[in-house]
């Protein structure tokens, strides 16, 4: 298995000119292993789609290189690249049947009619489109159109499959079931895939690794667990899941991996999992809402007042007013817990291993 099956090297894309210069992609470096599914995740305008379109060849990078399976494809036209793309709106050919759509690529490559037929039938079975051969795309449901688009790309047996927000046109339920199907199919075929989305849940459930992008730059690359539990910076922590940020200061370095921290006059000991911090440095302390426990006992040091309660069905969300901040707390399985009322004083507690330190940065709201 090749470690750098797809390799992006210092990829830069600048749009426009003169005063209206936009740096869409800013020095992106990425290595993708063979058979891996990597998601490019970020808010709209973060450069993820531009990156994907550079891999597919529809945009030429301003600078930087793209290698697929060791071959430099930076300047290869899209029709000669070993990549195929599943488009956001499927881009099915409206004047062709389902069968003709899927067989199109093979036909272009001059495959024998017999060969085309067997391969098309095979892929249609694989994605569950059997029996729809002679339908026109307009006669299909959104989910079926999506499968045609996927089949049309997969049949080419590309080295890298590119998916550009392929589920964004489906309704919420279909999205959930289809993303599991895509993941199963991808693992079964073992095809290297780049998946672009702005939906973090989608990225979490699908990916081997996630690339978080913002303002054209890669913020962090990692497995879903790494990204969620050990975000590298404020942006990643804030973008993925819900997060509480407390501002603290490092008072003492106890060892290479252990620190003492001061938050509002309270001192905490903490082990660091990532990064390095200096004594006296200002830091963010990240606590996920589900890691916080609320009790009515007043033994602990952090005390707050319930400001708002939001019932979410499977969870209960509290807004807790602390001395100088508001904490979001989520309680799973609300039936099993004592429910506090608005205005009630509560004690906030959390386990040390659920805390994560981030470098402090000025947040503009």
């Amino acid at each position: 298995m090749k470690q750098d099956f797809l390799l992006l090297k210092d990829l830069v894309k600048i749009f426009g000119g003169g005063r209206e210069l936009t740096i869409a992609v800013d020095k992106v470096n990425l290595e993708v292993k063979e058979g891996e599914l990597v998601t490019l995740l970020g808010p709209s305008g973060c450069g993820k789609t531009t990156t994907l379109r550079m891999i597919s060849g529809f945009e030429l990078p301003t600078s930087g290189k793209i290698f697929i399976d060791g071959e430099d494809v930076t300047n290869t036209p899209p029709n000669q690249r070993p990549t195929t793309m599943v488009f956001q709106n499927y881009a099915l050919f409206p004047h062709m049947t389902v069968y003709e759509n899927i067989a199109y690529g093979l036909k272009i490559h001059g495959e024998k009619e017999k060969n085309i037929r067997t391969r098309t039938e095979k892929i249609m079975n694989l994605v569950g489109l059997k029996g729809l051969e002679s339908r026109s795309p307009a006669q299909l449901s959104g989910g079926q159109q999506q499968r045609v688009s996927l089949a049309r790309s997969l049949i080419m047996e590309p080295k890298v499959l590119l998916l550009d927000e392929p589920l964004s046109n489906l309704d919420a339920k279909m999205r959930v079931s289809t993303r599991l199907e895509i993941r199963k199919l991808q693992q079964r075929i073992g095809i290297t895939s780049i998946y672009v989305t702005h939906d973090q849940e989608e990225a979490m459930t699908l990916s081997d690794r996630i690339v978080i992008m913002n303002a054209g730059k890669i913020q962090q690359i990692g497995t879903p667990q790494e990204i969620y539990n050990y975000p590298k910076n404020y942006f990643v922590a804030d973008f993925i899941g819900k997060a509480n940020f407390l501002v603290g200061k490092i008072t003492k370095k106890l060892s290479e991996k252990a620190l003492e921290l001061e938050i509002n006059g309270n001192y905490l000991k903490i082990t660091i999992k990532q990064g390095s911090f200096k004594e006296g440095e200002k830091v963010f302390l990240l606590i996920r809402p589900e890691s916080i426990e609320l009790t009515s006992k007043k033994t602990n040091t952090l005390v707050g007042k319930v400001q708002q309660i939001v019932y979410l069905g499977s969870r209960l969300m509290y807004k807790i007013e602390m001395a100088d901040t508001i904490l979001t707390v989520e309680i799973g399985n609300p039936q099993e817990h004592k429910i506090f009322t608005e205005g009630e004083a509560v004690t906030v507690s959390f386990k040390e291993e659920n805390l994560h330190l981030l470098p402090y940065e000025e947040i503009s709201n």
Binding site: S56, P77, N79, F93, P137, A138
Partner: protein, 569 residues
């Protein structure tokens, strides 16, 4: 420095891409060569000729523009005519468009067809009819004499009447599109907030359609300036630029003066064209998506309906009167003298003008598909491909749309009566010069409909094809072309109509060997053989209608598999 390098890199990158598709590269180069030779070069020749007096380069023609009556008078006359025609035409067009989009006018299709009919008819039919109705032996002349006394239809008043009828449909089409694209819910919102019908019109409908009105006005103004057929028939002593330029060249053999008049015609037309294309359209709030928004027409007050409906009825009646007169006139033995019905004009027409009819049909049939395919291919390149000079390509190919026929015609005789580096053989006198002229004059129609169609199709559909391994030409043939087939065929239809009814430019390049039906009609009119002229006009209208019908049939047939574009794209 950074930016410069980047631009350079991008250019090199794009070049490399094109280099890998030699067929595309060749197509682009070939199209540039065609545009240079058949669009830019002739116009350049007109400029050159206007600067040459007595075989020397000389600015005297231009210095004389304000002092010599033979220059400034036609210029002023054309302007006055243009302003009147554009204003009246836009008003009528707006009333029609409003009636069809915002009122429960009955028989809408009937009114729409009538309002657009003058577009497909030969340009001077209306003028011919005006002579039959209001001329010296006109049917209505005695009645009008009783009311307003002596008058003549020849001159400015007659021209304004005739051109307004001929070009109001252009304004109508532009405004119809604009009004249809304005979401009625905006007007409903205004009404909901308490605005009266009049307030809704003055604060919502009118401001939103102002760019459209300006656009329509400028387009009619351009058409009026460029009109050759109507002034040729009915201008009398009222001298306009297009006719004067023609007379200088065809009658006086004064190329220099003719070219200068052509340039005087060229400049205001281009100004109007650029205003329309780059200024007015940028001000537009309405994006024409091609998808008509659902309109909700509530009960309108009678004081709105009455004037709007009456105007529509009157204009429709006038259109019927004018075209009816042409039919009626073609069967009368001698107009205004002997009303006995006869077929002899049709017989004479076939005797005299048979060759003209055959030439027109043959040459138009050759030119139409070439113009159609070239037009749609250029629109594909311009909208979907990245290459150096793409903007220039679009600009030049749209240029022919705006350049008055007279300028193009003069340009063609100047450019192709000698061998040049661009074209190592002489075209003048051959059938090719007519075909090429028709192709490059009518091509912008195909480009426009192609661009409109392509803009409605999501580019990712074509990208999908490229992504699956097809090169640009394959993608164009297998994906783009089938999807824009309806636009392609309606472009063809319009091309054919334009080719058959062309006069202003082709009149310069016809020869004894190859001549055209419109020139024959003009000849009949010139000899006061109005009945034969009317008969030939009718034949031309029938040919055009049959061709349109045939193409409509094809579109309907192939349209079945293609109508899905809106749903998916």
């Amino acid at each position: 420095m950074f930016t410069k390098n980047r631009k350079l890199n991008e250019i090199i990158g794009n070049l490399q891409l094109i280099w890998k598709e030699p067929l595309l590269l060749v197509s682009i180069l070939l199209i540039f060569y065609f545009l240079l030779t058949f669009v830019v070069f002739p116009i350049f020749q007109v400029f050159k000729a206007s600067l040459i007096v007595n075989q020397k380069i000389d600015l005297s023609n231009y210095l004389a523009i304000f002092s010599k009556r033979y220059y400034y008078q036609p210029f002023m006359n054309s302007m006055i005519l243009g302003i009147y025609t554009a204003t009246l035409g836009t008003i009528i067009g707006f009333i029609f468009a409003y009636a069809l989009t915002r009122t429960p006018l009955p028989f809408k299709n009937f009114f729409r067809l009538t309002a657009t009919f003058p577009i497909i008819s030969p340009p001077f039919v209306v003028a011919l009819s005006a002579i039959l109705l209001f001329g010296r032996a006109g049917t209505l002349t005695p009645y009008i004499n009783k009311i307003i006394g002596d008058y003549t239809i020849y001159g400015l008043n007659g021209l304004i009447l005739v051109e307004t009828i001929a070009y109001a449909p252009t304004a109508f089409l532009v405004l119809y599109g604009i009004l249809q694209a304005i979401d009625p819910s905006l007007e409903e919102a205004a009404m909901d907030l308490g605005a009266s019908r009049g307030k809704v019109f003055s604060t919502i409908t009118l401001p939103l359609s102002t760019p459209g009105i300006a656009s329509a006005w400028l387009l009619v103004f351009i058409q009026s300036l460029a009109d050759f057929g109507n002034p040729m028939v009915i201008a009398g002593n009222y001298r306009v630029l297009s006719v004067q330029a023609y007379l200088q060249i065809a009658g006086m053999y004064d190329t220099s003066r003719g070219a200068t008049l052509a340039i005087l015609l060229f400049i205001p037309t281009m100004v109007a064209f650029f205003l329309q294309k780059y200024w007015v359209s940028r001000k537009s709030y309405v994006t024409v998506t091609g998808k008509p928004t659902g309109s909700t027409i509530k009960n309108l007050e009678w004081y709105i309906k009455l004037p709007v409906y009456t105007s529509c009825l009157i204009f429709t009646a006038i259109v019927f009167l004018f075209y009816g007169t042409i039919i009626h006139g073609s069967f009368q033995t001698l107009w205004g003298v002997n009303p006995a019905l006869t077929l002899k004009h049709y017989v004479e027409m076939f005797q005299v003008a048979r060759d003209y009819i055959i030439d027109s049909l043959t040459l138009s049939s050759i030119a139409t598909p070439i113009a159609g395919i070239l037009g749609i291919f250029i629109s594909f390149l311009v909208i979907r491909k990245k290459f150096i000079g793409r903007g220039i390509m679009e600009f030049i190919s749209m240029l022919t749309f705006a350049v008055p026929g007279t300028v193009v015609g003069i340009g063609y005789i100047l450019a192709f009566n000698q061998k040049t580096i661009l074209l190592p053989f002489i075209l003048t006198g051959t059938a090719w010069i007519i075909i090429i002229l028709l192709v490059f004059r009518n091509m912008p129609v195909g480009i426009r409909s192609g661009i409109a169609a392509l803009q409605q199709i999501d580019p990712s559909i074509e990208e999908a094809s490229t992504d699956l391994g097809a090169d640009s030409n394959t993608t164009f043939r297998r994906i783009t072309l089938p999807m824009i087939a309806p636009a392609f065929f309606s472009g063809l239809a319009y091309n054919f109509v334009k080719a058959m009814t062309a006069i202003s430019a082709v009149i310069f390049v016809v020869s004894g060997k190859y001549n055209l039906i419109t020139v024959a009609i003009l000849g009949f009119v010139d000899n006061s053989r109005y009945a034969q002229a009317a008969a030939t006009c009718n034949l031309l209208i029938v040919i055009v209608l049959v061709a349109l019908g045939l193409i409509q049939l094809i579109v309907n047939r192939i349209g079945k598999g293609v109508r899905t574009i809106d749903i998916i794209g």
